[in-house]
Amino acid sequence: MASSVIPASIDHEDIFPAALVQGDNTLHSVTEMVCGVLEAPKPPKSWYVIFTIAVALLGVLGAMIVYLVTTGVGVWGNNQPVAWGWPIVNFVFWVGIGHAGTLISAVLFLFRQDWRTGINRFAEAMTIFAVVCAGMFPAIHVGRIWVIWWVFPIPNQMSMWPNFRSPLLWDVFAVSTYFSVSLLFWYMGLVPDLATVRDRAKTKARRFWYGLFSLGWTGSNRHWHRYERAYLILAALATPLVLSVHSVVSFDFATSQLPGWHTTILPPYFVAGAIFSGFAMVLTLSIPARKMFGLEDLITARHIENMCKVIMATGMMVGYAYSMEFFMAWYSGNTYEGFAFVNRAFGPYWWGYWIMVSCNVLSPQIFWFKKARKNLYIVFIISIFVNIGMWFERFVIVVTSLNRDFLPSSWHYFSPTWVDVLTLMGSFGLFFTLFMLFCRYLPQIAISEVKNVMPQAHPHLDNH
């Protein structure tokens, strides 16, 4: 008979990972560390540098939008047959970035992955800002942005209603629901931390504003009880929601009959791709930010390593989808499908395709090595690669499928105009402006959640 006693004192990093809060921290020092960032009289110099660049780019975005609206969408490279060019690529790219936030805050919460606490606030903020950037592109893509309200079922003078059978309208509902729910989720998580900032406030203005938004939170346990339940419910709702949002984005393409777009694996493939790109963006942001604001104790090497693993896994899923698409394109016997995929790899946009494959499938393979996962420089570079690769994935899907459609006489090589390029750059300006403001004025780390995973937080009760 085998022993019925579990071996004690077995310690191994792979099975029992390092503590989530490094260093000799107490509950109070965690508060100090996080609140210190926004209570400091001045942010670090690098903050000013990045913020200035971001605001400048935001100005470029504003100028581009004004130019677009006053002149018309002809200033873009979009034309037949690539009528869905650059803006939709950017839309899908930004929505995808957004997904990691929900994944970290909701899905990892459901999977009881404690390590999410260090980065979830970050990721949720990133989600919201990315969705803002994403939502902008279809809005300006309609050309007449002053009639964008037509997509909502609002009583109006035409006595018309939107067409709910259109995937584009599903998008409107999916993205706006996603934005609303993400915002609620993010704000809900912020409330106890805002209360912390409120209670430490040194000025009347801070006490008023943080007080206003912390809703009079007292840390009451009866409140915490419902709060945690609501948090769980929101997480449980956000998980299928995040699935649905990028699935709906994929439906924009997959419900059509265009070879290269119409394939049934697109919904889960898009979701995996979104998580993939989102995690890469979280890494891109958190590696410099933890340095800039001195949060290395809270966003630890373990967090970064875990994110690398997620990137590798989702990168593999994306690779699986690439190969399934190729196999089915051949297996179906459909000549058009076959052509579309050969055209992807060896057509006029072959470079886009191979950038995508090498960035998305090949580059994360380095994370098989623990040393690579531990090396911040490598991780940072790969995360940038993945961002680039995922942008190119959307470019490949949108542009290569459209530029050689069924009618060879209408084949046309799409190239972006300077307005296209500056608009994309400007959207990064919007993103980073919001992000920098967030870093400066709101707690970057979920203080109460981090405290909750510290050993001090657990009551030692004999009767349990």
Partner: protein, 496 residues
């Protein structure tokens, strides 16, 4: 219980989560109802220690989720299948598979909003004022402090006893908490503003109520004017392109449009050379459809004056007569189309009359297309067959007296439309007492009305026009023979 209205309760601080849990168990067991713990993070296990009942939040969310599901279904069904169904990409207007994504999103939206707002609602937040905030030590509750507060309104509460109790169960410190010494109700100024806002909200509603279906001289409000008005050509519009500002352009002088050219020019003119056509142009086949077309156009364009049966008694005539009596119109009765003169008139002459007008009748070439003018003539002929004069035979005429023949001729030629026999002046002078009277002519002369005068008035009415008459109104009657004029004279001579 305490009688001090402003006394809130006592606040105890504990060392750590463990102490708090143990303390909470004791407070629970002591039977307190109105009390709570405060900690910077949710202490797991504390719920059991406090005896917190499991929240009903999930059930509320479920109920609202189902509501959202129903709302999603209803929204799409109502908008796309009932209120505004239209055909897009061949999908049925009510096609569930395509509606699933939005149903799902709306369900999640409702559920998530409910989870969020119901949670704050049940928690009684936002509540910016709280007596506990008045204790500076309580700031630690969101940092690293663990507190337990018992409210004074708890039936078990007694200040000393409760404080001692808290001390015995491991509290680090115990403090008394009082409400702020200020009124709890809304200040009057804010109340007034709220009422004003509420009243102001009624204004837009009143505006909508008053504008509903109201007659206005202002053009409709188009919220998005986008492309409503375009710089493009539209019939009868205005333009800056041409000097006269008209978009509709006149035909270039000296040109004939393709559809205006006819091999048979009589179709356009009603004349064959200098002679009027006596029958329809060769291109026209008169059948019942053609006559019905003629009827329609007759009723549109002719009947207002000539009357539905062509008797010259249309609604315009009747109104004009009334107005003429007041001196507001200068009116000649429209010709009765069923008299012999018109029956005898050539088709070509009738066509010319419709096209170019005659005497007081305006021209209708601009209003009535060519072929329909011919159709009107066909219909007029049909009217004449039904209501027109039936001519007497030569034998019958021969046995009549000359005066009787003259009476008949006047009626057949339509003279009685303007001239009466009883002395009443109409457009023209009455025939009564005419013969033998002195007639002042517009030329200044005066003549005796005799056979020669009557003959001249019928042959050349303009030359013998008398003072006070509407010169040029009366038509010449060249078709009358001398014998017929003699008969007319004989009839007129009887009217003394």
């Amino acid at each position: 219980m305490t009688n001090d209205k402003n006394f809130y309760g006592v606040l105890a601080e504990f060392e750590d989560p463990t102490a708090l849990c143990k303390g909470a168990e004791r407070v629970r067991d002591a039977g307190y109802k109105n009390w709570d713990c405060h900690s910077p993070f949710p202490v797991h296990g504390l719920d059991d220690c406090m005896g917190v009942k499991f929240t009903r939040l999930p059930w509320i969310v479920l109920a609202m989720g189902i509501t959202g599901l129903a709302a999603g279904v209803w929204l799409q069904w109502w908008t796309n299948a009932v209120d505004y169904p239209y055909d897009i990409s061949g999908k049925p207007v009510w096609s569930l598979p395509a509606n699933v994504p939005v149903i799902f999103e709306v369900t999640v939206l409702f559920s998530a909003f409910t989870a969020f707002f119901a949670m704050w609602g049940i928690n009684g937040l936002p509540r910016w004022y709280h007596p506990l905030f008045r204790k500076s030590s309580f700031a630690k509750a969101t940092d690293d402090g663990f507190f337990l507060a018992i409210e004074a309104k708890d039936p078990n509460f007694a200040l000393d006893r409760t404080s001692d109790f808290l001390n015995t169960i491991g509290a680090k410190t115990v403090e008394e908490v009082r409400e702020a010494d200020e009124p709890a109700g809304l200040p009057a100024a804010i109340k007034a503003k709220l009422w004003i806002t509420a009243a102001a909200l009624l204004v837009p509603m009143a505006m909508v109520y008053s504008s509903w279906d109201a007659t206005t001289t202002q053009p409709r409000v188009h919220i998005i004017k986008d492309m409503d008005k375009q710089d493009r050509f539209r019939a009868q519009g205005q333009t800056t392109l041409f000097a006269d500002g008209r978009m509709s352009r006149a035909q270039v002088v000296g040109t004939v449009a393709e559809d205006q050219w006819f091999e048979d020019s009589s179709f356009v003119s009603g004349k064959d050379g200098d002679n009027y056509l006596t029958k329809m142009p060769a291109a026209i086949v008169v059948d019942s459809d053609f006559i019905l077309d003629g009827q329609k156009n007759f009723e549109i364009f002719c009947s207002p004056c000539h009357g539905a049966q062509g008797a010259g008694d249309g609604m315009i005539h009747q109104r004009a007569v009334t107005l003429a009596a007041q001196g507001l119109a200068v009116w000649v009765q429209p010709t009765n189309l069923t008299i012999k003169r018109i029956m005898d008139m050539e088709d070509g002459k009738l066509f010319e009359t419709i096209s170019n007008g005659l005497n007081t009748m305006p021209h209708y070439a601009a209003q009535i297309p060519l072929e329909e003018r011919w159709a009107i003539i066909a219909y007029v002929r049909a009217l004449q067959q039904q209501y027109g004069d039936t001519s007497l035979s030569a034998e019958e005429l021969a046995v009549m007296t000359p005066a009787a023949r003259g009476d008949l001729i006047l009626k057949q030629q339509g003279c009685t439309a303007c001239h009466t026999t009883d002395g009443t002046p109409l457009v023209g002078p009455s025939y009564k007492g005419l013969i033998g009277s002195e007639v002042p002519l517009i030329s200044g002369e005066t003549v005796i009305a005799d056979l020669a005068y009557i003959t001249e008035s019928l042959r050349e009415p303009l030359a013998s026009a008398r003072v006070g008459a509407l010169a040029g109104v009366m038509l010449p009657f060249p078709q009358l023979t001398d014998a017929e004029i003699a008969d007319i004279f004989a009839f007129l001579s009887t009217l003394k």
